[in-house]
Symmetry: C6
């Protein structure tokens, strides 16, 4: 049962793009901030060691660059939990880094991630977005799942040649080299405060 695009109601969820033996698919990356305790990171979803490190990098980037990400002076000194359903499916690799960072930035800023945007890309501690594999399958999966836009690493531009024209016309593609650019696209504007 593959996931499809959904309206996202609260901060702390982003839509990632993955590749499995059966082709591309979308997956959701969830995060929660625990109400108190020592700062730290709990990770679930049967993630392999590379993907666990991605979550650590994403959180360290958000914590050390909160100002530069335009997140205000959010309090990040709390324990966080990152989960990637489905819970019994093993997952690995660095390409969920952008989605993990978006999820955590969403949670910290209180701004929702847009539900019609999928994203893939490795992130570095300093916020660079590095190229990943499976671009064609991922864009096709985004289209199939009903996403309107996808965010890809700039250095993956050559891979877009393989994406069919009709898909490229239906899905708006953003190429980014820095996580700030991905967040500017993916995060919704702050909620207007009720007067």
């Amino acid at each position: 049962q593959r996931e499809t695009a959904v309206e996202i109601d609260e901060p702390g969820v982003a839509t990632g793009l993955a590749v499995t033996g059966a082709g591309g698919e979308i997956l959701f990356v969830e995060a929660a901030a625990l109400p108190d305790g020592e700062s730290g990171l709990q990770i679930t979803g049967q993630l392999g060691d590379v993907m666990r490190e991605s979550a650590q990098i994403a959180l360290a980037h958000v914590r050390s660059h909160a100002g530069g990400l335009g997140l205000g002076d959010a309090v990040t000194d709390r324990p966080y939990h990152v989960h990637v359903p489905a819970g019994a499916t093993p997952k690995d690799g660095p390409s969920a880094g952008v989605a993990m960072t978006a999820t955590l930035a969403s949670l910290v800023s209180g701004r929702r991630v847009r539900g019609d945007v999928g994203m893939t890309g490795e992130i570095t501690l300093q916020g660079k977005v590095l190229p990943v594999g499976g671009i064609t399958a991922k864009v096709l999966a985004a289209h199939r799942a009903g996403l309107a836009e996808v965010i890809l690493p700039g250095r993956n531009a050559p891979d877009l040649d393989e994406v069919p024209d009709e898909v490229r016309e239906a899905v708006q593609i953003h190429l980014v080299d820095r996580i700030e650019d991905a967040l500017a696209i993916a995060l919704e504007a702050p909620e207007a405060l009720a007067a």
Copy 2:
């Protein structure tokens, strides 16, 4: 010696539905809050890593969504212990997530879980209820154990075709997509305070 439905006398116990090589059966998920110490989660019952992660997800969801779950401003900054008897039987898989969340929500809110309701379903950190396997065997086991109602994931609706009519008539089935809906069914009303 299979378990059967029991009257539940105190908060912190819920009735789950499981599948083993010998068919479906019910199991009890227990939780306790330790009187003090650092927040954390101790897990027993020879649970495999997927099921241990389910318990972590359930607790993180309850801790980060206590308000939205209608649990009042319960204090959740304590150590918790989750146990699934029998203690020597290895168990694994994500499908006890709903029962684990119900158990912890019960404990935190002081509202008992109804003893005549069985439940199965994977939970995500944001409270979505995801489909699980073994639906027919689980509903049959619930019936056999004397349960009056069962809570199942909405996305498992197609699996109900396999459940015999006489069982469907005897057992009331609730399909839910969110943990809030499961808790609304499973938790008893708060005890009236003595005047």
Copy 3:
């Protein structure tokens, strides 16, 4: 060198019943409360993972139900140590749960466990006593070791058919379904305070 019944001089020791390849035998479960430090549980005696979990469950039950166990408002926020001699003999299984709970309840309440009472049974976090194996061998061992009474899980009643009549006449058998009932039998009355 098998153990035999002894007079128990101080709180924190209970007599369990075990089964080995060589038949039943009694064993002692010891506990100590360390004078200060973070709450926690140190376990020794070459215990396997199921038996280690039994000790965790026993302590969590005592800590979360101290009031209901009639233990007064004992302070349980200390580190505990549970040991099962002999130190070089590997041991495993859930059936020492009742003895472990009795040992810890004794320590916390300052009431000695009766030295002429043996006990076996799995315990759950909520205090249910679940059935265990080897009942006949255990009752025979209790008799051989000179114990006057044994506490067994209620759901093991059918196994008593196998116990020889002369043993059943010599040893008083208590069947219990809840740990409170086991403790009511096993713990001595509080010491009278000197006037």
Copy 4:
């Protein structure tokens, strides 16, 4: 290069008796109290898991029974280190329990362990001394190393039949069932305070 009896100049060293493939020998058990930090136990000397547990049991006994051991109201809430030279020789088994307890009791009380007394025996958390193996080889080794007295578990009395008469005449043997009795023999009197 086997060890021989030595004059012990400071608290925190006791003489144990061990058996190896090459026969019995004596070994020294050393302990130190670290000047500050969280209470805990660091263990070195390539000790196997049973012997590591012996050190944990010895420290827990001393910490929880300091009053009953006649050690005054010593402060035991510090980190301790137990070492058994030689550092590259793997060692295991429960029989150093009495020597470990004597070493720690010495350190805590400031009373030296007598250098002419060797000791062997398993200890339990409540202070019972349990029988161990290799009694004949150990007593011979004590004699060969120049020790004047040895402390053995009372339940090992039958093993003394195997010890040659001339050794039994040369070495004074103490049989003990409780650690208090071992400590009464092994610890020197407190230093007289300078007036």
Copy 5:
């Protein structure tokens, strides 16, 4: 996709030189200081145990020698994170020690590491720079990636015989025996404060 020299915009990144089965290449070593929490070091990038120890040595050197490194009285009592992209590529060996130290010294001092300087060398806790392998391949890689200068261990001087003359003319080579000398070359001057 090999990395090439880049302008470095912020403190906490240095350019290292590595050797793989496919020849030499440059890699970036990133560091971040987390805003609060216990001092410690989180390491990502699928680093092997020798390379993880290099990061520990680098941080311990910076923390214990902050004054001597001319870093002012920087506050180093915070958690640090070191990452070496790409995240899915296993890496090991001691030769990134100099780059790791430069990255951390940069972060602590707020001075950027020059983007046109590559570096290789093992570091010791006291700041010595020890020789490493693959010097020729590393210098060739630095040249190919567009770096203007490289820092090498002094004890690797004999290896420079293998570097082609045209490369030695294009790339300025610094031989250093102490980390202070490497930092004097690699770190940019402090930013002038706006008046």
Copy 6:
């Protein structure tokens, strides 16, 4: 590239003697005190478990005997780091114990270890110096590396028969049974304070 004797400029480095498949050699043992944090010991240099325990023993001895070592009332309640270059070379065994203790005593006291003195020997928690292997190869290596004096365990005296006369004449040999005696030789006098 073997190490040779060097002038030691700051406290926290000592010269050890080791034996490898290729004969004896000298190695440096480095230590650093981290500016703050919980007391503890970080160990690097690919040390095996016996050598790691040596470092723990050395630190515990220094911390528990600071007064008796003539180190004044140094503050030892800090985290320490011990490193033995080269970082990628696995090392093991107890014979660096004396050098580790000298390094740490140097660091704590602020007195440098003499750079022309090599040392080998196992240390116990109470400060005894135990014999080690490879004495001949170690003394030859000390001579070859340009060291003027070596410190050896007293119980290794018989091994000196194997050392050639010309080496014994060139290198001054100290035999010690206690770590205090080794430190009295190895540590330089305290720096005179500038008036």
